[in-house]
Symmetry: D2
Amino acid sequence: MPAHPADSALYRGLFGDDETARLLSDSAEIRAMLLVEGALARVQGQLGVIPADAGTFIDRASREVQIDPAGLSAATATNGVPVPALVAAFRKAMEAPDHAQYLHWGATSQDIMDTALALRLRRMMDLWAGRLDALIGSLGVLADRHADLPMAARTYGQAATPTSFGAVVAQWGRPLQRHRERLAALRADLAVSLSGAAGTLSAMEGRGPEVRAALAQALDLRDPGHSWHTDRSVMADLAGWMAAVTGTLGKMGQDLILSAQTGIAEVLVDGAGGSSTMPQKQNPVAPSVLVALARQVAALAGVMDGAMIHAQQRDGAAWFTEWLTLPALCSATGRALALAVDVAQRLRPDPAAMQQGLKAGCGTIFAEAISFALAETMDRAEAQAKVKALSQEAIRDGVDLVDLVRREVPDRDWDAILAGDRLLGAAPQEARAFAASC
Amino acid sequence: MPAHPADSALYRGLFGDDETARLLSDSAEIRAMLLVEGALARVQGQLGVIPADAGTFIDRASREVQIDPAGLSAATATNGVPVPALVAAFRKAMEAPDHAQYLHWGATSQDIMDTALALRLRRMMDLWAGRLDALIGSLGVLADRHADLPMAARTYGQAATPTSFGAVVAQWGRPLQRHRERLAALRADLAVSLSGAAGTLSAMEGRGPEVRAALAQALDLRDPGHSWHTDRSVMADLAGWMAAVTGTLGKMGQDLILSAQTGIAEVLVDGAGGSSTMPQKQNPVAPSVLVALARQVAALAGVMDGAMIHAQQRDGAAWFTEWLTLPALCSATGRALALAVDVAQRLRPDPAAMQQGLKAGCGTIFAEAISFALAETMDRAEAQAKVKALSQEAIRDGVDLVDLVRREVPDRDWDAILAGDRLLGAAPQEARAFAASC
Amino acid sequence: MPAHPADSALYRGLFGDDETARLLSDSAEIRAMLLVEGALARVQGQLGVIPADAGTFIDRASREVQIDPAGLSAATATNGVPVPALVAAFRKAMEAPDHAQYLHWGATSQDIMDTALALRLRRMMDLWAGRLDALIGSLGVLADRHADLPMAARTYGQAATPTSFGAVVAQWGRPLQRHRERLAALRADLAVSLSGAAGTLSAMEGRGPEVRAALAQALDLRDPGHSWHTDRSVMADLAGWMAAVTGTLGKMGQDLILSAQTGIAEVLVDGAGGSSTMPQKQNPVAPSVLVALARQVAALAGVMDGAMIHAQQRDGAAWFTEWLTLPALCSATGRALALAVDVAQRLRPDPAAMQQGLKAGCGTIFAEAISFALAETMDRAEAQAKVKALSQEAIRDGVDLVDLVRREVPDRDWDAILAGDRLLGAAPQEARAFAASC
Amino acid sequence: MPAHPADSALYRGLFGDDETARLLSDSAEIRAMLLVEGALARVQGQLGVIPADAGTFIDRASREVQIDPAGLSAATATNGVPVPALVAAFRKAMEAPDHAQYLHWGATSQDIMDTALALRLRRMMDLWAGRLDALIGSLGVLADRHADLPMAARTYGQAATPTSFGAVVAQWGRPLQRHRERLAALRADLAVSLSGAAGTLSAMEGRGPEVRAALAQALDLRDPGHSWHTDRSVMADLAGWMAAVTGTLGKMGQDLILSAQTGIAEVLVDGAGGSSTMPQKQNPVAPSVLVALARQVAALAGVMDGAMIHAQQRDGAAWFTEWLTLPALCSATGRALALAVDVAQRLRPDPAAMQQGLKAGCGTIFAEAISFALAETMDRAEAQAKVKALSQEAIRDGVDLVDLVRREVPDRDWDAILAGDRLLGAAPQEARAFAASC
């Protein structure tokens, strides 16, 4: 019953990512919450906050107990949080009331849920980091291989100057390197949450900070040193990072859609999509999905930003807003990364089509180079004006600008001036520098 | 594996709506698409566009065939649309190649999907219309019953003037009446889509418009008279309507959260949520969910608006963006309505607490009334200044403004001036007028 | 000091619309607020709520008084609303304290501001309605003129089937007709706001509803019959309408950007933009602005939707959120409409380039038509498979699909089958029907 | 003619920030662009890319020339970018064609605009950094001063447990420290843009990277080592940071609105706003503005995220989308910070009201503490159930929970158990630790 197509049997393959989905699943969430409850009891037992044997018992039980998510649904609907029902079910399953009463000692639902979320996010981040590395690696290989492959650079959809396909790939890859670095920082930011009912650890009799530090160590999460119940900026930052990643991949997708256009067809993605009625269609489905995911994520990141307006010591509405939003963000990020890794391996640049692309527009792609060459012997503004006039003539009459220039300024060696190597400018170097940095 | 908590076994009760979910399900989508394919073949058979017996056969088969969504997933991932695989599976299942080839004659995937969507949306609208009617009815009863129940009106969270609880309820209900009317218009807007590969019905040999009209009649949808493949404004309008509905319910939720605050507690919602550590808590969970859904929907409606920028004759990225967004919008709308219907029946206003609320702020809630009374015998600006000074004195010293006024202006009958009936202004009438209009 | 480029001397020409800006200006706002205060006093005088001569005096003074916006700024910053300072300045300027005290009698700031806004929005709507009419008219002329001009329909950026330029234009125009109708409904929805301090008209001694009705009549606005202080759905609906309009124009802009691409150049917009370094550039600046405005408006409409969560009887934060958002929405809508009217008159379709576009992709644009032709003599699934194989061969070898088909199936009259008229399907009719409906 | 109220004479004081506005002004933009052109010519002259005396001349002239923004408006509207007109006006003003032709040598509009933007953003960041420091400092003083001042912590608007006002302040301040650190990183990220027509520095004859490095040094910006024309993630990250800052301040604003409510009034902000009709009103205007700015920024940050989908080598629509969005983001951030600095100095906590707040809800705020105390001598689940029952009784009967507990469990020293110090938990430490870290 999908409210999101990644949860649909029909659309999961298009929009979903199985590995991310596993970490978003109900069972993963329950498992992570139990892990937190277990670790909390263990460290509380070790610190003497609760009886040591209760801590040991609860910890062990937390690994073994099986709790059915559906069984918690009704109480979750009432309480707004699954923890009261989870704690009750776990207590009951322990069949050891003496120990069971020490479960969830001094913690509040949000402590358990936010800490469990941090654990799951860390695993997602590791998954995504691997994909980012793979993607950057693939793009590095492509950039290197095609560092000198000339193609038209296009601005506003108009032929601008020549570039190389390797440089274009490097432009896709550079921001990903930045996102990869930021991911490491965000991962290190993931912190344990343990602040009790309303941020003061009131029920831990002064031992709260100590317990929090021990719990952080036990779970290998950061000890924030204070409460972050109401500071949702880590979640918002993460959402912003997801927007940056999917936005970068959306840009790659948009470029690939444009590259694949009939009549341009400079870069194709193998395995394109067919139509129900048009036998010829090779639709750029995967690039389109990248764009769509980026559009969705951009808006959802804004929702997470808004959820920072979190009233007082816990704001149910703001917190629920996060819950409604974060899973879709994670799903989209996971899918976009998996798809981009896949797409990067299926890219097929077509040098002949790229040559064709350089010629489209009646050679006016060389206009800037011609104007600078002319500026060597005349005022530059005049040179620009002259080339502008010739460009208009070329397009109007459907003749090649370079031919017009040869006719008008016959005494220059236009072949040398417009030789490919020179016109690519820094493109090959940018491509190779990116490849070398991967 | 939920990317949306409404798809989660754990959170479905909190955020999901079973009836809306059924209409969003994979099986409902496949069933609706088959229904469209069947009806298309039937009318094409009747019009002689395809052999009559093929039309009859396909139509009948469309009602009987069982197609597993998961079986279409891989091809959907490749093609971006489920229809090619659906058509192939249906053809195969028919075991009648002579007829099967006439399935999906001249249509394109988008025709089938958009028309099937219209059918499902119509059923959702009917479901929601019923809920809106029920909700408006409940609010009408409340408004009538409490038309004269005085409580503090609050602006910027500050006591403003007295109002009545019935008037407050009427304020919740009035916009819903407007949304109810608009829903009828949007429902009537739902149209059949039949435009073929790229909007021109090219494969129907000039019979296209005729087939479309017949299909519209068969499915009881509007015949738009032209293609709406690329005109996504009906979908965007619907999203805007969902934002209006959930925004209105979010306002009600926000009011209820504020009304339930400790120290105010003027309106409670029975069956509030408990905490995992605080035994006293009666958290306004349902109102908080209403607010969260509204926040989510507001952003998602913006995504639907952006998806109107739909390039050329079909824009995969823009269309996919809709798919990623519309189900969550429908799910949230369904849930918000169901929850609001439920909440409206669980509202419990507390007249004593409301009396207390009128007294909070040292009686300054009567400041406007006093100033107008004074203005009968002195310049109004002076009256306002005098009351302002007295109000500040009242708050500073913790004494009642009315007592101060009695002391300062002893010669007026303040009891009569500040009698409840008069101070409520038009509140009771507004409440009763709303109730009468339900 | 522009926080919005439409307010910038540098960018106003690109993003601003002078006529809309005039209605958004400080002086227009003050003028409208004074008009409301004047009308209110007049009708209150006529109804005997205030002395008749005070009403007459205030009304006349409201037309004559000059109030400098900057002079109200400091008090506006303190009070959050300009009305207290406006009323004070107006009272002072009147130099008639006996009358002045009856100014703003029983009204609250929101009454004045919302009613004044309704007045200004009505004028904007009239302005925009005229532009919509002009735009629809221009598109109608274009659609009619080019109803039979063949060009490639493109889905996912891939050649799909032939269509006509007129049909493409009709696709731009159809949703605008819908928006035009909706505008009339929204205009009729504009209502007077008169509910007093907190929605109850408490200070009008039971005459409130009567005064509101008279004020509505005086200003020719709708009398809502109740308070809409907290019902912001009319504003949200209007924002949604602006998103629909700009989204539709953004789609047109996106199509024009794609049409203008070097190597395609099927539709140009005269007066395109130049580059600071590339003499040849004819950048589709105006279409790009249309897309950018649509993207901005889509997000801002979501903000207006969120502002419907308006707490209690007046929510400063929610109301301020509207103020921060609505002007940019209006500015963008005005600009998009003005620009689209202009662009529609500067469109230059290039039939030769369109012919070239039909040939791009090795004639595979005829694949659907060929498959249906073949299906007359063989099973359709087989026909589709055959054409798919031939299409792949055509693209791979760079030969024309139609030539391959002639070779493979020599016994059919392919010239007749693929004759232009037939392949355009319903495109010419759709174009002409749209033109006829303008 | 304001499309944004920060540009309005009337509303500037409410929503605008003069210092940020100055950096956003047309003249600041032109000045920054001229500075970049001047520095570019200087370093190109030094490197021999252009004649040395031309470089010197242009550089000097760039500091002296006066260019009127309005004079560039028409050409900006045509070209989409102001640079062609700026360069032409500057060339003309130089009255030295021999030198003038070397102006803007090898650069493109985007190089100049993005670099000039980096310069202006750096100045804004410095401005904002100072405000953040001041704000954190003020909050630190408040946290320290009120570290032990007890007040009710509220979750879902319900009394939860006691906390201290200092701890509440620390919760506002902690995320700001995080944002302050991130700001330093974002500032260091600001880079020169110099990539020529289409990202390849094609017109600098192989000297491009060298020129870029020198320009970066001259302007004290980072040399990115490659083009970032199409990598908009730095701008999106900055937008995300602005959302984080305003979101954090929005949370503070929301808390202050709730704290100021009539009947609670625990923290007031001096200088609150008045009403046009209600003499008593002390509206929390400034806190409401903080919330409204945060709501606006959250949505606009999403627009910046979406603008990362930047097609090919320059995407006019995506770039314009940034221009329409970034100024409002900067304006809001500047205003929110200035306002928060101001508000922090006007905060007035009311200990007596806070005591009242602890008593509201019939003492049930002590329920958790009581339940843990009881759990010392009975099973904890039983203890919780018992306290839950007593809490319900207390609220139902309007008696104090602590009195009920004394009656039910007379043998415990409830005064000691519920002594203030103990109940505050870690709140005082959190407050002091924050203060110490400021």
